[in-house]
């Protein structure tokens, strides 16, 4: 009788434990590739990092899908840019009726924003591309690490430590490329960019964008505007034109044919695979392209 009772207790406990799933690690949603890398570097294996949209989609014109809305419902927290790069996330959150329920970490909360430089009409517009940089990205890493630590206090010190380690890694990478251009004399470097996506990166290097070609982010210039831009680029004595690596445009070839100015590619860092190293790889490619352009400009000025 006692044995039966013991067996039934043991069986009951077994059934209860089987019914309860193992303790889940938190699921942290991210809206853009850089945030995947930042969060992964901060949390390591203590949380699952979940991209809200699949690889290969352009976040600028992405429309939320039903599966995105379902995915939102499985998250414990979401890291967002919040200043113009992930409208789809807010649409998904509202469609899933999670507004005010799903904790959001606004990566840009404490970032000091800068205007889009080189606007040919002289307007001062807030630049949302804070993640195409070292300094502004580091600021976001600190914010994300701090707020994740507040949400998951048991890992707060680990997140703080990992955040600092990652920030130091990004700073070291920047220093490596600064070393390459350390001996360059102060040259009057003039560049045009397709859109205002690289201002924060240029600010890291003490550079200014001379002209931005697209009248608005993602808006292609009309034929008459293109003619004006070509004249303006010639007048301003631009050394190099930086275009987007992932979304090449035909009109850039037209500008190149008309002006003869060399085209170089930078990345917006919001494409390809979601990996922890993805941001550093993309950033390295950008730093490589930028420092090569500076070295070339110096050689050209010296008549080399």
């Amino acid at each position: 009788m006692i044995r039966k009772l013991l067996y039934s207790i043991v069986f009951g406990l077994f059934m209860v434990s089987a019914a309860c799933p193992a303790e889940d690690i938190p699921r942290i949603g991210v809206t853009l590739h850089p945030y995947y890398s930042f969060v992964k570097a901060i949390v390591g294996d203590t949380a699952e990092v979940v991209p809200l949209i699949g690889e290969g989609f352009n976040p600028h014109n992405y429309r939320p899908q039903p599966e995105d809305i379902k995915k939102c419902m499985t998250l414990d927290v979401m890291v967002v840019n919040g200043i113009g790069h992930d409208e789809f996330a807010f649409e998904s959150i509202e469609a899933a009726n999670l507004k005010g329920k799903l904790p959001l970490i606004f990566a840009n909360k404490d970032v000091s924003l800068i205007p889009v430089s080189g606007h040919l009409d002289g307007k001062k517009v807030v630049n949302p591309h804070t993640f195409v940089s070292v300094t502004a990205s580091v600021r976001q890493v600190y914010t994300i690490a701090k707020e994740l630590g507040e949400l998951f206090p048991e890992n707060a010190s680990l997140y703080r430590k990992n955040g600092r380690k990652y920030a130091a890694r990004l700073r070291r990478m920047k220093a490596e490329y600064m070393e390459r251009i350390a001996d360059l004399p102060d040259l009057d470097f003039r560049c045009a960019t397709i859109h205002g996506g690289y201002d924060y990166l240029f600010q890291d290097f003490g550079l200014q964008v001379t002209a931005v070609i697209e009248p608005g982010h993602g808006l292609k210039p009309a034929a008459s505007q293109l003619a004006r831009i070509i004249d303006e680029i010639k007048r301003l004595g631009v050394n190099v034109i930086f275009t987007e690596m992932a979304f090449p445009d035909k009109y850039v070839d037209t500008i190149h044919e008309e002006t003869g100015i060399r085209i170089r590619h930078l990345s917006h860092l919001t494409n390809g695979e979601y990996t922890e190293e993805g941001f550093e790889k993309g950033l390295r490619a950008n730093l490589e392209a930028l420092t090569n352009a500076l070295v070339d400009a110096k050689t050209a000025k010296q008549g080399g």
Binding site: S112, L113, I114, Y142, L184, Q203, G206, L207
Partner: protein, 218 residues
């Protein structure tokens, strides 16, 4: 057979279809639509608030030169790291240590040169708990004017002479029009304002987000 069929003739005047009534109807509908939409826009629109800062502050986004904005943003990013170093090591890092850690704007690289070759000095204000440090940067070239001051308060609530709110963020950035002002001996707002300093206020992402999404997201 030969009987003639007599046809009675009558004239009816058919007016041309000028569509006057339809035209009037379309004009009235268009007018009503415009009036309704106009009322809707007027009722729903909220006037865009012009963001202004008090006279003792400077708006980084609209008032600083690009090089100054670069230095300010670098200070704003390095300040949390300086704070964490202090928390871990119970001491404020020297300017040399900050440069060795590659922290901008202290590290003397190519961007440091482009932004005005600012030279930094540290001054720990002697208080009972030694929780306040000032880092002052003066331009090293003749082109730039204006000095920067990073005030690290380490969660230390300033007690007297504050122009702003009572509780402070752990750090503040101030700017002075002179390229060689004297080092402030006190870190209260009033002392700094009296010395010719103005606090630099960032246009942070938080403000932009609140503006576009509303307060209920925070």
């Amino acid at each position: 057979m030969d009987e003639k069929i007599r046809v009675t003739q009558c004239e009816v005047v058919v007016p041309p279809a000028g569509g006057t009534f339809e035209t009037q109807l379309v004009v009235i509908v268009a007018f009503v639509t415009i009036v309704l939409c106009g009322c809707g826009i007027l009722l729903r629109s909220s006037g865009a608030e012009e963001y202004t800062v008090p006279a003792w502050q400077v708006d980084a986004f609209s008032d600083l030169q690009p090089e100054e904005l670069a230095i300010f943003n670098a200070l704003l990013t390095s300040a949390p790291e300086i704070e964490m170093i202090h928390e871990d090591e119970f001491d404020w890092p020297s300017v040399t240590e900050l440069a060795e850690a590659q922290l901008p704007p202290f590290v003397q690289d190519s961007s440091w040169r482009s932004d005005g070759s600012y030279h930094w000095i540290r001054n720990i204000i002697s208080t009972e708990d030694k929780h306040i440090v000032l880092y002052m940067g003066n331009p090293g070239d003749d082109i730039k004017t204006g000095s920067f001051l990073l005030v690290m308060l380490h969660d230390h609530i300033k007690k007297q002479g504050n122009a702003g709110v009572a509780s402070h963020v752990p750090f503040e950035v101030w700017i002075h029009p002179s390229s060689s002002p004297s080092f402030p001996g006190m870190s209260t707002d009033q002392a700094l304002i009296n010395g010719g300093w103005r606090e630099v206020v960032a246009r942070k992402g938080e403000r932009e987000m609140k503006k576009s999404r509303g307060e209920d997201y925070f």
